[in-house]
């Protein structure tokens, strides 16, 4: 059986890749994909621990996290479409109407 900490290292790497993607990318959809990667790293962590503890609690949490991510995607894509109507781009650097 693969030890739990291997899964944890993998999920930490995935989470870090997601964070880097959010911070460096400019396209709105790519940023959102990076956020999804972070959320999936979280799911992997929950599954690894649930397997180690032989608990069902962590598995149930994963289902809820997946539902949350799906709901977020639905609303997020609608926001992107609405933005695209206005300025024909979803580059977040172009979203600069407000400055202090």
């Amino acid at each position: 059986m693969i030890p739990t900490h291997w899964f944890l290292i993998l999920s930490a790497i995935l989470f870090a890749i997601g964070v880097c993607g959010v911070l460096t990318r400019k396209n709105g959809i790519t940023i959102f994909m990076s956020i999804e990667l972070m959320v999936n790293a979280v799911n992997l962590t929950f599954l690894a621990y649930a397997r180690q503890f032989h608990q069902i609690h962590g598995l149930i949490f994963v289902f809820f996290v997946m539902a949350i991510a799906a709901a977020e995607a639905a609303v997020g894509l609608a926001i992107f479409i609405s933005l695209f109507h206005h300025r024909a781009t979803i580059d977040v650097d172009e979203a600069n109407l407000m400055r202090w």
Binding site: I35, M38, V42, V65, I68, E72, G76, I79, R87, M98
Partner: protein
């Protein structure tokens, strides 16, 4: 009615307010879809639903439900009332605002109701799963509400920013929760508290989890240094929503944080975690107040002042005792009245909503519209914490808890920064009464009966709490004693 052996009898009563709000929201959506000619009555209907919900709080039984994951007690009732009060004030201001902007619809109020359900779940959840579900229900409704003015570009942009930031923060909260699950084998607060009482204070995993969770919740609270989104989002959002957004979600996050931290109490005494919260609090007070001075846009100024107010509220978290929880409860109610009132006056300034609403817009407003001017003045006095308003009492008790628990340095920072804040709050009053409007630039507030009623509620509330705070504090104190172990 029993659905399952795990679900206690009486569960309907336990979640009655949530049920009323969910069903009310669905009805308003149906009305918006099939009764286009009935648009005018959606806001009064929404008000009725909110008032029925507040009444149904009386039928709710205290206790723990759903297998120890949902707790109803005195303090959750106080916070429920705060959420409902904020929603009612937002509805009153939104009614005429939406009509004027031509974007009225049932879904606006429905989203407000479901967001309130999310906040109630956050306040009552005894399990991180419930808290996160509530937080997400709230966040997803806010994404839509911020971008509700979808024909104007700033509203869209605010929605995009809040969405990306909010989803990013959710990632951190979830990862923190996953690591806590790994360290304590549970996400239930009661079981986590048991694990924390024997945990090693130098455990690196627990510290990483705490930092991740706090930074995610810091985003939602708009506490510095996680406040970057707040000014842009408040400026772009429809003004009644901006006022509601600056109060209610923060109150919900704070009460969830109180529960979480009281489960972690054994750890907090030995680790640097409390210092982190203190740093968040001091940074918020300093950055919020300093940046607010430089603002000429009213909504951005209120956004920075909101960051500072989160700093004040975080002071009370440093000492998790019954009087500090009571102080948070009273502060959130007071803050709801004065901040939604201030945003409400801004929302009545009829103008192209795409442009910033600056101090010049309210120059001389106190004479053109005495009632709006008076209401804004009262809100500003209360926000700056001058007696005899509620803002003074609320701030006084926050600083008192800090002094009582030995956090004297932070109390002094709080008092000094709130003295600085008097400058930019009273500058608004100066513009209201002592500044002549520019030629051909005299904006008259377009508030109707609903906005006037809401302003009257905020003013009465501010003075009643300011002059007679004892009953509220006694009630909140008794409720808080039941919450903490």
């Amino acid at each position: 009615m029993t659905l399952h052996p795990l679900i206690e009898p009486g569960w309907v009563n336990a979640i009655l307010p949530e049920l009323v709000l969910c069903v009310g929201g669905l009805l308003l959506m149906l009305l918006g879809a099939f009764g286009a000619r009935l648009r005018g009555i959606t806001a009064p209907l929404a008000l009725i639903v909110f008032i029925v919900t507040a009444w149904s709080e009386k039928l709710v039984l205290a206790g723990t439900f759903f297998g120890g994951t949902y707790e109803i007690s005195g303090i959750t009732r106080i916070f429920d009332i705060t959420f409902l009060l904020s929603a009612i004030l937002a509805t009153l201001f939104a009614r005429e605002y939406l009509e004027r902007e031509g974007i009225e619809g049932g879904e606006f109020y429905a989203l407000l109701m479901w967001a309130t359900v999310g906040m109630m779940m956050m306040a009552k959840g005894l399990d991180l799963l419930i808290v996160i579900l509530g937080l997400e229900l709230l966040s997803i409704c806010i994404f839509v509400l911020v971008g509700y003015h979808r024909r104007i570009p700033v509203s869209n942009e605010a929605s995009l920013k809040y969405f990306l930031m909010g989803a990013f923060a959710t990632g951190f909260i979830l990862y923190g929760t996953a690591l806590f699950y790994g360290a304590t084998r549970s996400t239930n607060f009661t079981e986590m508290a048991r694990a924390f009482s024997t945990a090693d204070p130098n455990n690196v995993l627990l510290s990483i989890a705490f930092v991740l969770l706090m930074s995610g919740l810091g985003f939602k609270l708009a506490a510095a240094p996680f406040h970057g989104w707040a000014p842009d989002v408040y400026q772009g959002a429809p003004s009644p929503i901006a006022g509601w957004l600056s109060v209610a979600p923060k109150a919900a996050t704070l009460i969830a944080l109180v529960r979480l931290l009281s489960a972690m109490l054994p750890m907090l005494q030995f680790s640097l975690w409390m210092k982190m919260i203190a740093a968040l609090s001091v940074l918020s007070m300093v950055i919020g107040n300093a940046a607010a001075i430089a603002q000429r846009d009213l909504k951005r100024m209120l956004a920075y002042s909101g960051i500072a107010h989160v700093g004040y509220m975080l002071i009370a978290l440093l000492s998790l005792r019954d009087d500090s929880v009571a102080a948070i409860a009273v502060y959130t109610i007071t803050y709801a009245l004065m901040n939604i009132g201030a945003f409400g006056v801004v929302s009545t300034l009829a103008k192209n909503q795409n442009d910033p609403q600056t101090l010049d817009d309210i120059a001389g407003l106190g004479f053109r519209s005495p009632f709006s001017g008076l209401a804004l003045t009262v809100c500003m006095f209360s926000l700056s914490g001058l007696p005899p308003t509620a803002g003074f009492i609320a701030k006084f008790y926050i600083f008192k808890t800090a002094v009582d628990s030995g956090h004297l340095a932070i109390a002094i920072v709080g008092i000094l920064t709130s003295i600085v804040s008097v400058y930019y709050y009273l500058r608004v009053v100066y513009y209201l009464y002592m500044k002549e409007p520019a030629e051909g630039y005299a904006i008259v507030p377009a508030g109707g009966i609903f906005a006037t009623g809401a302003l009257a509620i905020t003013m009465i509330g501010i003075f009643v709490i300011g002059l007679f705070p004892t009953p509220l504090f006694a009630m909140a104190g008794a409720a808080a004693r039941a919450l903490l172990p």
